[in-house]
């Protein structure tokens, strides 16, 4: 008999498997990709301390540790449904149905798409796809690229493309419209980039970041934003230019771009074509919570966490008995935080499974504390208001589940 099924072999899932296996539980990990590591295996960046974060090495370390604890890891297997019958969870996969009393869902995040004219041409990809092609598959995505959308993920991957010797010519915003949402509003974009100043070593972003936190300074800042952009690692970041169309007949040949005013509105007659042979669309990340949704778990929309997230406690429990969550499915944050959350979930499962008292309580408490301290020291923070998002979820949990005040009016998306 198996005690735990972990869905997703990213940092959260692997850390969760390790923590529960260290208390003697029998664990199976399932992942649909060909190898374990999740998004870690695409990551390579330098921390402010100068130290390199090498995701491939991290994932190998986790994989090794899990193997030493006899965790059963199955790659290339997709989970398509999750439901409970009596005391056991049924995890329906492409190789049949597996069952266990405890399930940890750690399926990570997906990218927000930004549809625009020409986005179906060969050579257009999401920024995450460029990362996977470059760092995982080692395929050159093109010779000269344009990134549409400016956010922290785009900067991190810009760096990775440059390290691989791929030229990114410029970063522009998508045209402001209902499909692009905030990604097309220069001021909103500037606001979200302020906390990434260390990743975008440009004098304007760095010196300006304190000023720019103030709304009216930010307006002025956008008004006088240099037409030729500011350089991020040598690549111009053009917050006052918007991509109107990706052009090409058989494949990408370029991007039609127009100047915009400080509010992102197109200035008529300012259009220009920039040549490129690949285009990356960077729309940001949202929690990939589809399996938890079909399981019947209630959700809350918390924009600071990236969108709809399953109700969960700081110990990573959901309101459904035996169902736990960890990592980006609970809110968009960096790989280190996902790992710390996974460890917490793994200990919480061991505790629910009745593993020895004092030791587990102590480890669980330390793990919860560790998530907070890793968050405080995080080098990459995808949403500057993450703390407020996390607070909203824990208040929600307190009010709904801590005092036996279970309600029926929760929003479900399953």
């Amino acid at each position: 008999m198996r005690d735990v099924i972990v869905i997703g072999a990213g940092p959260a899932g692997l850390a969760g498997a390790i923590a529960s296996a260290s208390f003697g539980l029998k664990v199976t990990v399932i992942d649909e990709f060909i190898k374990p590591g999740g998004r870690l295996i695409g990551q390579l960046h330098q921390e402010p301390s100068g130290e390199w974060w090498n995701g491939i090495k991290e994932s190998e370390r986790l994989h090794q540790e899990a193997k030493t604890l006899s965790v059963d890891i199955r790659c290339g297997v997709s989970v398509y449904n999750l439901e409970k019958d009596d005391d056991l969870w049924n995890v329906h996969t492409s190789i049949g149905t597996l069952t266990a009393p405890y399930v940890l869902v750690a399926t990570g995040a997906a990218e927000y798409p930004i549809p625009l004219p020409g986005w179906t041409l060969p050579g257009v990809m999401s920024i995450g796809a460029a990362q996977v092609m470059t760092n995982v598959h080692r395929v050159e995505v093109g010779k000269k690229g344009i990134i549409i959308g400016a956010n922290i993920l785009a900067f991190a991957i810009l760096n990775e493309l440059q390290l691989a010797g791929i030229h990114v010519d410029r970063i522009v915003l998508p045209e402001k419209n209902p499909l692009s949402g905030k990604a097309g509003e220069p001021e909103e974009v500037m606001k979200s980039l302020l906390n990434a100043a260390h990743l975008a070593p440009s004098p304007l972003l760095r010196m300006g970041s304190r000023f720019m936190k103030n709304g009216s300074f930010r307006k002025i800042g956008m008004k006088f934003y240099p037409k030729n952009g500011v350089k991020v690692n040598g690549t111009p970041l053009l917050l006052r230019k918007a991509a109107i169309e990706i052009i090409g007949t058989e494949q990408v040949e370029g991007v039609r771009v127009a100047d915009t005013d400080e509010n992102g509105n197109i200035i008529p007659g300012s259009e220009k074509i920039y040549e490129a042979d690949f285009v990356c669309i960077a729309g940001g990340l949202y929690p990939l919570a589809e399996l938890v949704a079909v399981s019947g778990c209630p959700f809350q929309y918390i924009p600071e966490l990236g969108g709809h997230v399953p109700h969960h406690s700081e110990m990573m429990e959901t309101p459904l008995e035996g169902l736990f969550v960890a990592g980006n499915i609970t809110g968009i944050e960096s790989g280190k935080i996902a790992m710390a959350q996974g460890t917490t979930a793994g200990y919480a499962i061991a505790k629910h499974a009745g593993k020895d008292g004092a030791a587990i309580d102590k480890q669980l408490q330390e793990a919860v504390q560790n998530v907070r301290s890793v968050r405080e020291q995080a080098a990459i923070q995808f949403n500057p208001e993450i703390d407020s998002g996390r607070r909203k979820m824990s208040e929600l949990w307190e009010s709904l589940y801590s005092k036996n005040t279970r309600e029926n009016s929760q929003i479900k998306i399953g």
Binding site: Y80, P113, P178, L179, I244, H308
Partner: protein, 91 residues
């Protein structure tokens, strides 16, 4: 905007932004109804790419709806599977 009408939002079922906006404006409906009327989100990928644009279109066109209210549901199977796989007995 005219150029934007032709954007293919749902790539599996080839539904354009123009068709989606027109349907949403005419019926002032939920994202789910928009999906059922146009087939956007009902293709091979299960709406993985276009579900968010669909929610955004509804939010933009229909007053009094925000993203927190009525997002598109998820339904199993959440990955494409063969009839053989779903029809199989539990092992």
């Amino acid at each position: 905007m005219n150029n934007n009408e032709a954007i293919v939002v749902c790539r599996c079922e080839e539904v354009t932004y123009g068709a989606l906006r027109f349907t949403a404006e005419e019926h002032q409906c939920t994202a789910r109804e928009l999906k059922l009327r146009t087939r956007a989100g009902m293709g091979f990928c299960g709406g993985r790419t276009c579900r968010i644009p669909l929610d955004r279109i509804i939010e933009n066109v229909v007053s009094n709806i925000s993203q927190g209210d009525t997002p598109l549901k998820y339904q199993p199977p959440i990955r494409p599977v063969t009839f053989g796989t779903v029809g199989e007995k539990n092992d």
